[in-house]
Every structure is written in structure tokens, then in C-alpha cells.
């Protein structure tokens, strides 16, 4: 803290500078824009000085890495200890193809797997369902039953790898399949490491792969929390995701506000279900977007950590420091990529990745330059990975934790983002919490307004996107994009038919009926789902049973 007298001096000096220096220049050479703003609409001043952050108490609001409120990071050494995990999301086609890919990655020294599932799997349809037409294996691997899961992890020791699965509405079923595969390998559940995304609330507002209404969905999530805290203690039971909220058009402030509001909803639901906060909260993790506005993004990550720590400590009375630590994965912004002059995306991704690293992320996925056009090719994926490695090994930004701390601008921005995000959370609380605010369409509406504003700014030229609305060139259409083999759908259908022939159909029926009964009551559904999975009931069959009891979510359209 600077003493009062010095501060007064700075303030006076700044006013002098404004009149004697800046105004004089501006009167002759006007600034580029009438007003300067971050992407969240936060006004950016002509200059920042110690005066702007004089009300920020260092020890209380900033502190030290590894200590409350974790503004400067969750570990004491940060990247001086070890770099973030460089984790690229992958998966396509059949379980057989993906298994080959996984084995290759493991042979190259990778210890973590990240599984992308195709859309029918994410929405609980078997590959032979009419709704699955044209979608099987397209954006990820198709999993219809335990049989596919056995193939996917064939020859991969599940006690040795950590597996991240991007799965939400049917997360309980896929987790059950993973546990069942482990059982067959002789690996007990308490040895399993990994993450399921399991964040249904953001599906309703942004990502769209929901199945059941909010109430039963929250039940499934707390069932997983409870089950894992007993039997799969090393599993990260949820990855509360702002990534897709941002992709849907939210601003930086909205991204963390809505994500944290969802986080609050999960914690409340778990506490309501009788769990102790320190039992499950250390297993909560987050997933954010890294966008182009470098300083605003860094400030966003810092603000999010500080907010979560405060929420867990003050709102939920968490005692275990691990419950207050926000650990997060980051992915660079897919929506910021352009189809025009795709090589420019490499530079965008670099800036975004830098923001994530300066913001103290625990793991990072960098997008590939061609993702506005199709799934990335191998070459593009390699450049994306190299981008992370160059930042880690060459840029020097990893040598001290939170290097932007103390920047008048970044500290002020961190504070302002926190303030605005808390205002949103207050509003959502007043509406009755995130689930209710989603049912009312409030969050969706806010995101859409931002998305539409962003688009209009681009079209009016107010916001410049290089190569898109300025500095355009005539281009040849890109060649050599990745294509998924259309035969996957047929192959999957054949496998389902085979499974249905070979399994004990009487047992399947019995377990599904038992699951139905459990769903009607209040039991934890995990054991019942696991029973059905072990008998090779398909993903679609299990989901259908739950659909018959829970109903399906009706999308709130507010335009």
C-alpha cells in the first residue's frame, strides 16, 4: 500500500498530465475511438495509476499463490514447479479406431486420455435410432454398450491412465461403463482417475446436449457425487464449464458469472442431498474459454478464482482449503477462429493460450487453425500443440507465478470483473438460483443479447476481425480437410445387433425394470445403472427407461 500523501500526489500529477499532456495531444490528434471498452463492455481509461487500485487490499484480495483467495494461482510454485497439462481433445469414428489412437498417444508418453463422444451418444440415442442418422461417429466416438467401451479401452490399464470424458446428460451411464470395464480388468473403482464433464446446466443454456428436465438431471449429478465420494474417490465428478457459455456468445463477465452460478447450484443440490461440502467440493473442477482480449481474459481467470474461494468459504462454510481452490481446464475460443485465411488462427490461438497461461490454468487445449472448417488434420493439431510448448519453454512467462499481478490495469480489471459477475450472481439468486433462471430463460436471453451485439459490431465494422471484415483477400477453398468414414454408422448398427443377440436378454429386462423402479423412488441410481450396464443394456435402452420416468427437457426459446 502506498501512503495517503503519496497517493494524493499521484492523483494531482495525473490530473496535471491529463491537462498538460494528454488533452493537448488529443485536441490535435484525436484517439482512434470515442470510447475504449473490453469485450464485456468495461470502459478502459486513458491511463491506470496506483490511485486506481488504492482501495484494493493486497493481503486480502490478492495474496500469495497457493493461499486464499487464490487470486495468484492454486499452487505455491505454479509453473516453476511443473507446466500445465497439455491435453488435446480427440476421438472419432468407432471404438476400434479411437482405441488405436489412444494406444499410439500412450506409446508417445502421454498419460492422460481425453474422449470425445459422438452426438447420439451424448444425447442417449443408440446408433440405430432414427435421430442418429448421419451423426454416428461424426464429432466423436460412438458408444452404444459396454461392448464398445471394452473395445475403446482394450489393452489400456485403467489404473495407470487418467481419462477425461466429455459427457454430460448420460454421464452416469458412461461412468458406469468405465467402472465396469475396470472391473473386467481387475481394477477396483478406487484406483480410477479421471474426469466427467457432467455439467448439465450449461447444456440447457449453451451446448444443447441435454436429455432430462432440470430436476431429475440435478438428481443424477448428486447421485454421481455421492457414489464417487464413497467408491471412486479419485474421480473428478464434474467439470463446471463456462467454455460453451462463452462460445454461445457470452462476454467474459457473463462467462464466469453464469459458470459460478451453476457451480453454486451444484453445491447447493449436493448439500441438500445430505453431502458434506468438504467431502465433494475438492473434486469439483472448472473449464473456461480463452478469448482474444488478452488482459481482460487474464483478469477473468484471476477474478474467477477469487470469487469461487470466497463463495466456498463464506457462502458454504467450507473448511478444507481444497474446497476453495478453483482448478480449471482451458480451451482456446473456437468461435474466434475464422474460416477466412485460416493460418491467421494460429496467431489468435497463441494470444488466447498466452492468456490462459498468464491466468494460471491447470490444463490447456489449443484449437487448430482449420477448426472453423472441419475436424482438424494431424498437421494442424501438431502446430496447436507446438504453440503451447513454445509458450512453456521459450516465452519466459512461466518463470514466476501470476506475472501480471500488480499491473494497475489488470488489478483494476480483475476487481471490476468480479464486481460485475457478482451482480449477475445476485440477480440469479433473486430469481431462485441458476436452475430456475434457466427455466425462466433469463441466462439464455442475456447470452443471446451479447451474441447478437457482437455480430452487429462485426457487421458494422466497429469490431475488426482481421481477414473477415478487414484485410480480406481472394482465397482458394482449403483442401485436404479431415473426413469421417460414413461406414461407421453401419458398423455400429451391426455391433448393436450382435450385442443384443449375445447378451442375456432376460437379465437385461430385469435390470432395466429394477432401474425404472429406482428412478420412480429416491434411491441413488448409480448402482442400478451399473447393474444394467454389466448386462450389456445399451445406452439408448437405459436412457429410454429414465426418459419414461423423468420426461424430456423442453428448450426455452427466448429471442
Amino acid at each position: 500500500m502506498i501512503d495517503k500523501k503519496k497517493l494524493e500526489e499521484i492523483k494531482n500529477k495525473k490530473e496535471e498530465w491529463e491537462v498538460n499532456q494528454r488533452q493537448k495531444v488529443v485536441s490535435k490528434f484525436p484517439e482512434r475511438k470515442k470510447e475504449f471498452k473490453t469485450s464485456s463492455g468495461i470502459e478502459i481509461k486513458e491511463i491506470y495509476t496506483p490511485y486506481d487500485i488504492s482501495d484494493i487490499d493486497y493481503l486480502e484480495k490478492i495474496g500469495f499463490p497457493g493461499e486464499y483467495p487464490y487470486t495468484r494461482g492454486v499452487q505455491p510454485t505454479m509453473y516453476r514447479g511443473k507446466f500445465w497439462t497439455m491435453r488435446q481433445y480427440a476421438g472419432f469414428g468407432t471404438a476400434e479406431e479411437s482405441n488405436k489412437r489412444f494406444k499410439y498417444l500412450l506409446s508417445q508418453g502421454q498419460t492422460g486420455l481425453s474422449v470425445a463422444f459422438d452426438l447420439p451418444t451424448q444425447i442417449g440415442y443408440d446408433s440405430d435410432h432414427p435421430m442418429a442418422e448421419g451423426e454416428v461417429g461424426k464429432v466423436g466416438v460412438a458408444i452404444d454398450s459396454l461392448y464398445d467401451m471394452e473395445i475403446l479401452f482394450d489393452g489400456i490399464p485403467l489404473d495407470k491412465v487418467s481419462t477425461s470424458m466429455t459427457i454430460n446428460a448420460p454421464a452416469a451411464i458412461l461412468l458406469a461403463m468405465y467402472i465396469a470395464v475396470a472391473e473386467k480388468q481387475g481394477v477396483s473403482p478406487d484406483k480410477l482417475n479421471g474426469t466427467i464433464q457432467n455439467d448439465i446446466l450449461k447444456e440447457y443454456v449453451a451446448r444443447g446436449t441435454y436429455i432430462f428436465p432440470t430436476g431429475p438431471s440435478m438428481r443424477l449429478i448428486t447421485n454421481i457425487f455421492e457414489y464417487c465420494s464413497k467408491y471412486v474417490p479419485k474421480w473428478n465428478t464434474i467439470s463446471i464449464s463456462g467454455y460453451h457459455i462463452r462460445e454461445a456468445g457470452a462476454t467474459a463477465v457473463q462467462e464466469i458469472a453464469f459458470t459460478l452460478a451453476n457451480g453454486i447450484a451444484y453445491v447447493e443440490a449436493a448439500i441438500k442431498a445430505g453431502l458434506d461440502v468438504d467431502e465433494f467440493a475438492p473434486r469439483l473442477s472448472f473449464f473456461f474459454n480463452a478469448h482474444n482480449d488478452l488482459f481482460e481474459e487474464v483478469a477473468k481467470f484471476r477474478a474467477a478464482r477469487r470469487m469461487w474461494a470466497k463463495i466456498m468459504k463464506e457462502r458454504f462454510n467450507a473448511k478444507d482449503p481444497r474446497s476453495m481452490m478453483m482448478r480449471f481446464h482451458t480451451q482456446t475460443a473456437g468461435s474466434a477462429l475464422t474460416a477466412q485465411q485460416p493460418d491467421n488462427n494460429i496467431i489468435r490461438v497463441t494470444i488466447q493460450a498466452l492468456a490462459a497461461v498468464l491466468g494460471g490454468t491447470q490444463s490447456l487445449h489449443t484449437n487448430s487453425r482449420d477448426e472453423a472448417l472441419a475436424l482438424p488434420t494431424e498437421d494442424s493439431v501438431r502446430i496447436a500443440l507446438r504453440t503451447q510448448q513454445i509458450i512453456a519453454y521459450e516465452s519466459g512467462v512461466c518463470e514466476t507465478p501470476d506475472p501480471l499481478a500488480g499491473s494497475y490495469y489488470v488489478e483494476k480489471l480483475t476487481d471490476e470483473i468480479e464486481k460485475r459477475a457478482f451482480e449477475y450472481i445476485k440477480k440469479i439468486d433473486e430469481l431462485g438460483g441458476a436452475a430456475r433462471a434457466i427455466d425462466l430463460g433469463y441466462i439464455q436471453k442475456e447470452i443471446q443479447e451479447s451474441a447478437y451485439r457482437y455480430q452487429k459490431e462485426i457487421e458494422s465494422g466497429e469490431r475488426v476481425i482481421v481477414g473477415l471484415n478487414k484485410f480480406q483477400i481472394e482465397e482458394e477453398p482449403p483442401k485436404g480437410l479431415l473426413k469421417v468414414n460414413p461406414a461407421v454408422e453401419e458398423l455400429q448398427k451391426q455391433k448393436i445387433a450382435k450385442v443384443k443377440e449375445m447378451r442375456n436378454n432376460a437379465s437385461v429386462k430385469k435390470t432395466l425394470e429394477a432401474l425404472k423402479k429406482a428412478a420412480e423412488g429416491d434411491d441413488n441410481l448409480m448402482p442400478w445403472i451399473l447393474d444394467a450396464v454389466r448386462e450389456y443394456a445399451t445406452l439408448g435402452e437405459i436412457t429410454d427407461v429414465l426418459r419414461s420416468i423423468f420426461g424430456e427437457y423442453q428448450q426455452q426459446i427466448i429471442l
Partner: protein, 311 residues
């Protein structure tokens, strides 16, 4: 389209759709068709579904249709949403809640924008209802957004008006009662599993009890449309109201009222179009310059124009 009339009588969806387009755009073809087929109409029962935004009207309509289709009824739905007065455009999003049923052979759903028409209905609603009637619908549901007294035309077109409310509107029930209490023949408290539903029901009943002079005391029905709860009861109440209307003779009265409105509406539309055309003929734009230049005041100019048009 060939044999538009024949197809329309058979209830062909494409024929209905095209004829309603004619009606909506006030093309003469619509009138020609109605002229030929008028005697076939009069059999459909018209139910108005109205209420503030966000109370679940479309979901409720969807469930009503489902239950009626299951007993073999043919259903037409007209969902009216406001048109932007600034751009003339609109987003019609009610259909989304009824998408599953729209493929049923006995269901036809049409979204309409108000297109500058006041009162909550769109310009072509009367005609569209008439067309659905001719096409053999047993029930026609007309869904409008109604938040106050400015949007009560639904009363004039429907046999039974269902006013939908939901808990969590806060003090709104008090605030809007002046506007809505006379409109509803049946009141629905939707989302009745949500907190505050019972309170809304009690409040509604109290307000309805204040009005003793009516011989039809509007019932309040608790519904959870999403969960398909209370829908059968609502259908029973609609039937009760229908019986009441018939037995009390009000049915005929209401229908005559509607005919009058339909005729007046048609005259109004024609008149308005006529006036605008005529005004244009009288060099409106060029003469307007005189008003802009302050050589003449707008009211004197209006009087002059009126005389020119009608003399």
C-alpha cells in the same frame, strides 16, 4: 395449387396453409374460397388460450391437443405473436412446443404475426379460423399473448377463453386483474407444482368470488402442463362451459357477435386499404411538403384530404 377448394375440404395441410396465406395477405382468393364454402363452416369449437408471456401457454396447448387427438378429434391451432412495429418483422416461436404433434395427420398449426393489427389478434385471424373451420377441424385453438386490456380481442373470436397464469408472477395477479378478470371463462394456474401456486389459486378464487352477478363462475384449474397433469380436468371444464353456453343461449349470442365482428373487421380492413390508396392518389406525399414547410397545419390538411377522398 390445383383443386385448392377440394383439397381444403379434405383437410389437406398444404391447401389449408396456402389459403391462410391468402387470408393473411388479404388477397381476394381467400374471399372467393370462403364465398363458395361458407356453408360448410360453423362446426368448429373455438378455444382462446391467452395469458402473460412465459406462463406456458404453448406447452398447455400442446397437451390439450394431444389429449383431444387421442380421442380422434381434428385440431387447428393459430398461434399469434406480436410483430415489431419498428421493423415489421417477427419471431414466431410457439410452434417449438408443438413440434411433435404437428406431424399428426389430424393436427394443423400455424404461426401468425400481428402485422400491425391491434387487440392481440392478427389481421387474418378471423379468416384463418373460418378456413380451419371449413377444413373440418373439431377444435380451433387460438393462442395470443395477453397482458392487459389492450389485447382482449380473443374474447370476440373464441367460444371459450382460457386465461393461463403461473405462480411466480409476484404481484402481477393483482396488477393485471383489472385487465384479465373479465376475459377468462376458465382460469388455469399452470406450473402448479411450483412454489406459490396455491397462493395464486386462492387469490384468483377470491377475486372471482367478488363478481357475483355472473351466472357462469369461471373455474380455476390447477395444471402442470409439462407433466401432463390437470389436462383432462381442463378439457372437462371446457366442455362444461360449452354446455353452459348452449343451455343458456349465450352460445348463439356469442356467435352472432363474432359474425358482426368478422364483418366489421373485413369492412375495416377494406376501408383502411381504400383510404390509404385514395390518399396516395391525392398526391399525399407532395402535399405533405406544405405541412413540413409550415404553410398549412396538419389538422387542416387532414380535413382537406378527407374531403377530397370522400367527396
Amino acid at each position: 395449387m390445383e383443386n385448392l377448394e377440394e383439397l381444403l375440404i379434405k383437410g389437406d395441410k398444404r391447401a389449408i396453409a396456402r389459403t391462410i396465406t391468402y387470408a393473411e395477405n388479404y388477397e381476394d382468393k381467400a374471399k372467393e374460397i370462403i364465398k363458395k364454402l361458407y356453408e360448410r363452416s360453423g362446426n368448429a369449437y373455438i378455444v382462446g388460450i391467452t395469458g402473460p408471456p412465459g406462463v406456458g401457454k404453448s406447452t398447455l396447448t400442446d397437451k390439450l391437443i394431444k389429449n383431444l387427438v387421442d380421442v380422434g378429434k381434428k385440431i387447428g391451432v393459430i398461434a399469434v405473436d406480436p410483430t415489431s412495429p419498428f421493423t415489421g418483422g417477427s419471431i414466431l416461436g410457439d410452434r417449438i412446443r408443438m413440434q411433435d404433434l404437428s406431424q399428426h395427420p389430424n393436427v394443423y398449426i400455424r404461426s401468425m404475426g400481428t402485422r400491425g393489427h391491434l387487440g392481440g389478434l392478427s389481421k387474418g385471424t378471423y379468416m384463418a379460423a373460418r378456413i380451419l373451420d371449413i377444413a373440418g377441424m373439431d377444435y380451433i385453438f387460438i393462442e395470443t399473448v395477453g397482458v392487459g386490456q389492450s389485447e382482449i380481442d380473443i374474447v370476440k373470436i373464441a367460444d371459450t377463453v382460457v386465461m393461463v397464469l403461473a405462480p411466480g408472477l409476484g404481484d402481477d395477479v393483482q396488477a393485471i386483474k383489472a385487465g384479465i378478470m373479465e376475459i377468462g371463462d376458465i382460469f388455469v394456474v399452470n406450473k402448479c407444482d411450483k412454489e406459490g401456486a396455491d397462493k395464486t389459486v386462492v387469490e384468483l378464487n377470491m377475486m372471482l368470488d367478488l363478481d357475483e352477478k355472473k351466472d357462469w363462475r369461471p373455474p380455476v384449474v390447477k395444471v402442470a402442463a409439462q407433466e401432463n397433469k390437470g389436462i383432462d380436468e381442463l378439457i372437462d371444464k371446457i366442455d362444461d362451459h360449452k354446455s353452459y353456453l348452449i343451455e343458456s343461449g349465450t352460445f348463439q349470442e356469442r356467435r352472432i357477435e363474432r359474425l358482426k365482428m368478422e364483418i366489421i373487421e373485413s369492412i375495416k380492413n377494406k376501408l383502411m386499404k381504400n383510404i390509404f390508396d385514395k390518399i396516395q392518389e391525392k398526391e399525399f406525399s407532395s402535399r405533405l411538403q406544405q405541412v413540413i414547410d409550415k404553410k398549412i397545419d396538419p389538422y387542416t390538411f387532414a380535413d382537406e384530404l378527407y374531403k377530397d377522398v370522400f367527396n
